[in-house]
Symmetry: C2
Subunit: 335 residues, 2 copies
């Protein structure tokens, strides 16, 4: 038991972009296992916009990570040693073990091996896929023939949202940050159109690509993109508010959309949601999504960066648009 | 038929507060009646925040009033002469005859006489009451025991919203612009508490008066008040977005709430609505509201200003907080 654990500790709350002194990578010994505990080796760490939220003390849906604590993050791990009757070495477990190479656990969700690549449980069949599934279907409530707009369309969630919306018979228009991403979104994920929000006048482009107006917006971005959407919404449109990544690195208060009054004028519903609210219905999602994946109807990208020392530079890709698809940090080899 | 009609004509779109040259009071002859037309003498003109919206060319729920046209407004009129088989002199008609003393009509909603004061049809039993009724019950969906916050609580809509919420077993906290209004709201309309938003720290006061948090917000104001509400919302709160009067006189783009992200974090639903969407269900509202009014369970204030020449100064009361209850301009005597 001489193994060393490397962990990212939150030292202070970032102001704006994450600075080099905000988190520290430290080495600690792995504690001995007590009764009913097991040692889990982290294989994949999920990197998500919400990590940035958890580092801050803004109002949020879980307590912020405490200063001095291991950074929080979703994980897929393999059991290495166990004093727990239900977990044996080699078992695959998903959980929230945080930004560290090893963790001592007393429970978690066991995952089957060999059915799909393990990374799928961290993306299309995990919280990412569930965010897309419940956010679009339960909050956005698209009907066949309606027009659905998806921001961060080349991202982990957005790319899946668009494919589900196509399965439901909608016109789907994505927003992404490069021509290359836009081509990918249309060609590989089957969106009807994709707008490069960095080079186009977004409102004019939405008007062009949504000739019948916008009925559903799956909102991951906020800021000027949400304002452009609100300029083009139809009566009774639904905005499924999933994320506001354009605002998470702000150094001060961020104004809401300048077209907020259109929520009133167009009788729009804006509904915030967090995937954890849907965990009781996870089985329903996994059954349908696994079928779609097996049939090739829903594809997904995984963007893997290796090495715990690269956690911060990898996370930053989410804010610079440097990733395409689900961003994972691989900390050790798949079993 | 030598009568003269006085009309307010929209000359140009106001920028900021309505200026003296934006509308003009003109005298015109009353046209002769054609077949199936009747001449209506306006008794009451409804003055509402939405009048200011209709003067502008902002995105809105009806076409803006055209430049050169009679200003739009809800009216209660009495038929003076008629070539229409269904309308006879003395009949009371509600409609949208606009800001003028006489109008030539070919239809309208006939109202019974003698059951309630005529002004009630312009307030608690009219669109004002329906706004409160459907906005609170259909959009806010309050449950007994929940906490409901109402901005512009001494206003025509807000005062009725609070009383309905009390009938539904909620804790009701109002926001109004003077201590006198606050006392009135608590004493006469039965709110549990009322906050003077001009003298108190609104967020701290909401925290104090809503010890269990805010479940429903009936939003008439917007701006800093909505931000304070968003600081204090519970998980799954509902914001019935009825109006944004704090923004209608703005000279340029107005930012949405700075706490917009709390819609996401607290999984709030913000839903805009306009009472016209509920006109098909007007009978349902009138039946229940008339009962509540007859039983003394819902009271209402009417603030009457007389004389068409005073239309603009009267309308301005809505923006300075100068009125209490439903603001009506009386253009001629009740029949």
């Amino acid at each position: 038991m001489a193994k060393v654990n490397r962990q990212w500790i939150l030292k202070k709350r970032p102001v704006g972009e994450i600075g080099s002194g905000d988190l520290a990578l430290v080495e600690t010994p792995i504690p001995a296992l007590g009764p009913n505990q097991f040692l889990a080796r982290t294989v994949y760490l999920s990197l998500d916009p919400t990590n940035r939220i958890w580092m801050s003390d803004m109002t949020q849906y879980m307590p912020p990570v405490e200063l001095g604590a291991v950074m929080r993050g979703g994980t897929l791990s393999v059991v290495e040693e166990s004093n727990h009757p239900d977990f044996k070495p080699g078992d695959i477990v998903s959980g929230i073990a945080g930004w560290q190479e090893y963790s001592v656990e007393n429970g978690g969700q066991k995952l089957p091996r060999g059915q799909v690549p393990l990374s799928a449980y961290m993306s299309v069949l995990g919280a990412t896929g569930a965010t897309a599934y419940f956010g679009l279907l339960d909050i956005g409530k698209p009907k066949a023939g309606e027009t659905v707009v998806v921001s961060a369309a080349a991202g982990a969630v957005g790319s899946i949202v668009g494919q589900i919306a196509k399965l439901k018979g909608c016109r789907v228009v994505g927003l992404a940050g490069s021509d290359e991403k836009c081509r990918h979104v249309v060609k590989d994920f089957g969106f009807d159109a994709c707008i490069n929000y960095k080079t186009e006048d977004v409102s004019a482009a939405l008007k062009r690509e949504c000739p019948n107006g916008i009925d559903v917006d799956f909102e991951n971005a906020g800021g000027t993109i949400l304002d452009a959407v609100l300029e083009n919404v139809n009566l009774k449109a639904r905005i499924a508010l999933c994320g506001l990544i354009s605002t998470y690195n702000a150094k001060g208060p961020v104004p809401g959309p300048y077209n907020f009054a259109n929520i009133l004028m167009k009788r729009v519903t804006v509904e915030g949601f967090i995937v954890i609210d849907f965990f009781p219905r996870f089985g329903e999602f996994q059954a349908e999504m696994a079928k779609w994946v097996a049939e090739g109807k829903v594809k997904h990208d995984v963007h893997v960066v290796k090495g715990i020392e690269n956690a911060l530079s990898a996370l930053n890709l989410l804010f610079t648009g440097g990733n395409t698809g689900k961003l994972l940090l691989q900390l050790s080899g798949e079993p």
